[in-house]
């Protein structure tokens, strides 16, 4: 559904250089530190920046010349941009109805009310969480085939976050839909994504299925003597700790079977971030 091939974008002290693909029917996550290039990747997909090299394809078309009709098939949440604050939801409803043929006014308004969003209040007076909820509801309001969600859960409390994630799971019940979602909160991505890209300094440093991350990866906590005896064939990274060594492996089962005395924690996105991003 979306394909980025060797996309390059050079800023003064930052260079995005990445390739990634979002297949149909899948939720793809993108994780990385602040300034790693997540938002730049989203902007490249949406044609908000001009890329210096490579190609962006959406629905098989060149992303740079995407028609308005194709844009109707996309729902977007941007981390740092949203509706003009001097208008209300009530003001925006006819605009959205004119822009999207599958937009349902009644459903959108009732969803906004259900989420506690005041219809007649200026959006500039909304809290960060309310603004975010409005963007998500807008992205979900017009039967889009693709959702591009840059930090959609930032600023939301845990209850609303769960509610939003549930809405995204409901959205995915219709076949042939896809989501690309970025978040700082790894548990959000673990719960919803089929595969995860990790980006650092503009480059993709890891791409793995979420099931593999959670099932095969693990953190071995070994004392110094255990570490010396450990078969290090499947150790990807190890670093010293107070008690001995922390070792990250992608063959957790091998160590569980052969070293029953060693403590092994399950894999997680936090673990992957520690492995790939910790210098």
């Amino acid at each position: 559904m979306v394909k980025l091939e060797n996309v390059k974008k050079q800023y003064n002290d930052f260079c995005l250089d990445c390739s990634m693909e979002i297949p149909k029917g899948q939720v793809t996550g993108i994780i990385g530190r602040n300034g790693a290039g997540k938002t730049t990747a989203f902007k490249a997909m949406l044609g908000l920046i001009r890329i210096d090299g490579g190609s962006v394809e959406l629905f098989g078309e060149d992303g740079r010349i995407l028609s308005a009709k194709d844009r109707e098939r996309i729902g977007t949440v941007l981390a740092d941009s949203g509706f003009c604050g001097y208008l209300t939801i009530k003001d925006y409803v006819p605009m959205l109805a004119a822009m999207y043929k599958d937009f349902s006014k009644e459903k959108f308004v009732s969803e906004c009310e259900r989420m506690g969003l005041p219809i007649k209040k200026n959006i500039k007076d909304f809290s960060t969480g309310m603004k975010r909820k409005l963007q998500i509801l807008t992205a979900l309001s017009h039967n889009a085939e693709l959702l591009l969600l840059d930090e959609p859960t930032v600023g939301l409390d845990v209850i609303v976050r769960d509610e939003i994630l549930e809405m995204l799971q409901d959205y995915m019940k219709t076949e042939e839909r896809s989501i690309l979602i970025s978040s700082h909160i790894s548990s959000d991505l673990e719960g919803i994504c089929d595969d995860i890209y990790m980006i650092d300094n503009g480059k993709i440093v890891m791409h793995e299925d979420t099931d593999v991350i959670l099932g095969s990866y693990g953190l071995i906590k070994a004392t110094r003597s255990q570490f010396e005896k450990l078969d290090k064939t499947y150790i990807l990274k190890s670093y010293e700790a107070d008690f001995g060594y922390n070792c990250i492996t992608n063959q957790k089962q091998f160590y569980l079977e052969n070293y029953p005395d060693i403590v092994i924690e399950n894999g997680s996105l936090d673990l992957m971030m520690r492995m790939f991003l910790q210098k």
Binding site: L46, L87, A97
Partner: protein
């Protein structure tokens, strides 16, 4: 484009209401001083300025990137700004001209008077406002808040040029002695203005297409 027009009309309804009240008040004041042409010109100019501030509202809190993820293309955005600007200035102009002329007929003279000359002056104001909108849209997209300074510089340059020409022709007296076909001059001026407006529109589209968000 329809969606963007709805948004801008809603902005006009919410943010421009005080301006509309001001325009009505100012027009009534000017009518009291027998200055209907200026009332029409000023009101039209004010509403044109408002149409340009919708770009500022779109940019408010970095709103433009999100706007451009909606099903519109960048040239649609530019086209909508021109359509909105021309539309509200034309409607305002028609309403002001109708109101002022009615006032003129019913209160001042009741004989029709020199309506032709007055209408030409009002039309000249409208053409000037169209020109200003055409120039200001690309400047606003290119320079944002600094567009006012750039416009002032452009207007001062044009003003100085016109003053030099005017003085050169002994304060306009020699213009009449040139024996020009003034209808042809007016037609030529309109053609030049239209060409300039087209150039400004293309420039605005180019600025928008090159902009990164």
């Amino acid at each position: 484009m329809k969606g963007l027009l709805i948004k801008d009309f809603n902005l006009l309804k919410k943010r421009g209401i005080f301006l509309l009240v001001f325009i009505v008040g100012y027009t009534v004041y000017q009518l009291g001083t027998f200055n209907m042409e200026w009332a029409v010109g000023f009101g039209t100019l004010m509403i044109a300025m408002f149409s340009l501030t919708t770009i500022t509202y779109d940019e408010y809190e970095n709103g433009m990137p999100f706007l451009l993820t909606l099903p519109i293309r960048r040239n649609d955005y530019v086209r909508e700004k021109y359509v909105f600007g021309f539309l509200i200035t034309t409607v305002t102009w028609i309403l002001l001209v109708a109101a002022c002329f009615l006032f003129d007929i019913m209160i001042w003279r009741k004989d029709g008077g020199d309506f032709g000359v007055k209408l030409v002056i009002c039309a000249a104001y409208l053409v000037f406002v169209y020109f200003l909108i055409s120039l200001q849209i690309p400047l606003k997209l290119k320079f944002a808040e600094r567009s006012g300074i750039v416009t002032t510089i452009v207007v001062v340059i044009i003003g100085v040029f016109c003053s030099i020409v005017y003085i050169e022709f002994e304060y306009g007296v020699n213009f009449l002695e040139l024996g020009l076909d003034w209808n042809a001059v007016a037609a030529g001026a309109i053609v030049v203005l239209l060409a300039l407006m087209l150039v400004f529109y293309r420039w605005a589209v180019r600025i928008m297409e090159k902009r990164e968000f």
